[in-house]
């Protein structure tokens, strides 16, 4: 796992020096524990913590005397959430194709597979930047049923597409800024430190996910509509043996049938009925895996009155007859 890290072994870059620029290139290597390092040239503090497997938070505070470049490589790639509290940093990728300028108040979300690049810290003022690095799969597991509410490229990345690139930036809102500052400076309240870091980071993550969601759907669905559609989905899947009709849902959540169907498409990437059927199929698999129910019992349990209908739907979804599936999975109690 490679991440930005502090063990900044200075490796003078001849070419740059000749130009007489006050720039130094630092090579960044991977490290996995908290480190505070200071260099004679740049006065910086770097803290990095692995909050849980595959999720890291890092904070860099740096007041260089001149412009400083940090070279980095990320492999395997992570989803990065970056926040600039003060100062300015320019990122440019190795092939100089992508450049990104992040100044005070910037919040960005990005994913660049196998990216090499250079971050250039301007010498004016103190740079304070916080990063949250997450493995795409971990984030995918956290979001589960709301994956559909994410921007499509971002969703693909979480689902394992390693070729896509994603970048989105905006200005931090007031709450985000507060949380980031609290992470930088916990004050006396942060005990135990490790736990404090974690719950504040979760708060931050929550805010970012919300922004991603509203970015994706903001133009087409209002936030109240979004939450009603989620509630409608919950109600739809609550009781498989007696699911509500489209009209029931429409009446209960004051959404027109059209809006409801459109909302399901946008947010869950499926029709209302499709969502229900998919849930039934997943439930059936789960039952086969965890109980010793036979096919008709499972069919009944998932709301099918007719076993042959169930068998047909199951075969269509998984390409196996329920009975074959049942025999293929060992019972795991």
């Amino acid at each position: 796992m490679k991440l930005l890290s502090p063990r900044i072994s200075s490796r003078g870059h001849a070419g740059e020096k000749e130009k007489g620029r006050k720039e130094k290139i630092y090579h960044i290597r991977c490290l996995s524990q908290d480190i505070v390092s200071s260099d004679s040239c740049i006065d910086n503090t770097w803290r990095q913590t692995e909050l849980r497997p595959r999720m890291w938070v890092s904070m860099l505070e740096s007041s260089p005397k001149g412009t400083v470049s940090l070279q980095y490589q990320k492999d395997p790639a992570m989803i990065d959430f970056g926040f600039v509290l003060s100062g300015r940093v320019n990122h440019r990728s190795d092939n100089k194709k992508n450049t990104m300028e992040a100044g005070r108040g910037f919040a960005g979300i990005g994913y660049f597979p196998g990216r090499k690049g250079v971050a250039e810290i301007s010498g004016k003022g103190t740079l304070r930047v916080l990063h949250l690095h997450m493995n795409p799969e971990l984030l995918c597991n956290m979001l589960q049923e709301d994956l559909g509410a994410m921007p499509p490229d971002f969703r693909d990345i979480m689902e394992g597409d390693t070729r896509k690139i994603f970048l989105s930036g905006r200005n931090m809102c007031a709450i985000t800024r507060t949380v980031v500052s609290e992470l930088f400076d916990p004050g006396p309240s942060g005990f135990p430190k490790r736990l404090y870091l974690e719950y504040k980071t979760m708060e931050l993550l929550n805010l970012q996910i919300m922004h991603l969601m509203s970015q994706e759907n903001g133009c087409r669905l209002s936030s109240s509509e979004r939450s009603r559609i989620i509630e409608a989905r919950d109600m739809l899947l609550k009781d498989l043996s007696d699911p509500p009709t489209l009209n029931d849902l429409s009446r209960n959540f004051s959404l027109s049938r059209n809006k409801l169907q459109f909302g399901f498409r946008v947010m869950f990437n499926n029709s209302v009925f499709g969502c229900l059927r998919e849930h039934k199929m997943q439930t059936a698999c789960h039952l086969f895996k965890t109980t010793d129910m036979n096919v008709s019992q499972v069919a009944w349990e998932t709301g099918y009155v007719n076993v042959s209908q169930f068998t047909k739907a199951f075969k269509k979804r998984f390409g196996l007859l329920p009975n074959q599936y049942r025999q293929s999975v060992p019972l795991s109690h």
Partner: protein, 340 residues
């Protein structure tokens, strides 16, 4: 508080497994996709209200109960795993009786406005007793001690020895510590029970807030530990006396006894009483009384029994403004917001 002897109503006995299933099985709920959320509604004849349960990640389990019972119930538990249990009681009072080695029961109480840290070792049997009539409203976090250990990240030197042993897996005895909920705890609880989100965001939000509460509990145990300092731990009969004093103190909030009277009634002196109060409840007797008054006022408002002025007056505040100020400082909300 009615003692068991005065209970004349029928008591319903329930096995915990029937309600909670395997959800307490901390270590085996690896995949919370299967069963992230569960909600139990009490049957009509027993009471109304619910207990909702959610596994936030392997090793952390959140339970929120909000119900009023028609019958007394007891729920019997047998711990399948070592677990640390944090209970934040918003309203009402629930007791837990633990089988102790001496063949008698040890009682823990979850009292309104208090939070408790408890440790239940594997195989420990206990019975939760919930009385009919009053509303019980609480947030209960169950956490795997090993996970708690990873959260401490080596910051052991400040926490009480007993707790240190627990997170290190060295404890075999149960452990119990009670303290008042401070304003930040109240705020986090408020956010948990009024969670504004749905599905995955809700889980993320709750997980963050639950970690926050765990952090507060650890910090609280530190401050309790530091008060006791070099003093020996409280003896069981000291604790009994202090609990008795507490009950007397809050029995009549409008006319509380003086500290001297209180000390005499339970057979100790002023200094010992106050010191013990700090040790056991984390604050002085007077401050304890103040917080109980605010708690009582909040209960009156929540149940819409009185308006703000009446509530303030009934718990001993003669000025509306000073009441509002104290209330806001403690709960982070305006008293009148509780009337909606």
């Amino acid at each position: 508080m009615p003692s068991e002897e005065t209970m004349c109503q029928e008591t319903t006995r329930i096995e915990a497994k029937k309600i909670f299933g395997d959800i307490f099985n901390l270590s085996e709920s690896r995949n919370n996709r299967d069963n992230p959320e569960k909600c139990l509604e009490w049957p009509e004849e027993i009471g109304n209200g619910f207990i909702s349960m959610i596994t936030l990640r392997p090793g952390i389990f959140l339970e929120i109960g909000n119900f009023r019972l028609r019958e007394h119930i007891t729920i019997s538990f047998k711990q399948a795993h070592n677990s640390v249990s944090l209970v934040f009681s918003i309203s009402g009072s629930i007791r837990r009786a633990l089988d102790s080695e001496k063949g008698r029961y040890e009682y823990w109480s979850y009292t309104q406005g208090h939070s408790t840290i408890g440790y239940l070792p594997k195989h420990q049997q206990s019975i939760i007793k919930s009385s009919a009539g009053s509303r019980a409203y609480y947030v209960h976090i169950t956490i795997d001690p090993l996970l708690l250990n990873s959260f401490m990240d080596g910051q052991y030197d400040q926490i009480p020895v007993a707790l240190r042993n627990i997170v290190n897996g060295a404890a075999e005895q149960y452990f119990y510590q009670e303290s008042l909920m401070n304003p930040s705890v109240n705020m986090a609880i408020h956010q948990i029970i009024n969670c504004p989100y749905q599905s995955s965001l809700k889980r993320l939000f709750l997980e963050g807030k639950v970690l926050e509460l765990i952090s507060y509990s650890m910090a609280q145990s530190v401050s309790l530990g530091s008060v006791s300092g070099k003093n020996a731990e409280l003896r069981p009969d000291d604790i009994e006396r202090l609990v008795e004093a507490r009950d007397i103190l809050i029995h009549d909030l409008e006319n509380p006894p003086s500290l001297l009277e209180l000390a005499r009634q339970v057979g100790t002196n002023k200094t010992t009483l106050n010191k013990g109060f700090r040790q056991l409840f984390g604050t002085s007797a007077f401050d304890y009384l103040r917080i109980c008054r605010l708690e009582r006022a909040r209960e009156l408002l929540d149940n819409k029994i009185m308006n703000v002025t009446e509530a303030a007056y009934s718990v001993g505040y003669s000025q509306h403004s000073s009441f509002t100020k104290a209330f806001k400082k403690h709960f982070g909300t305006n008293p009148k917001d509780h009337l909606h």
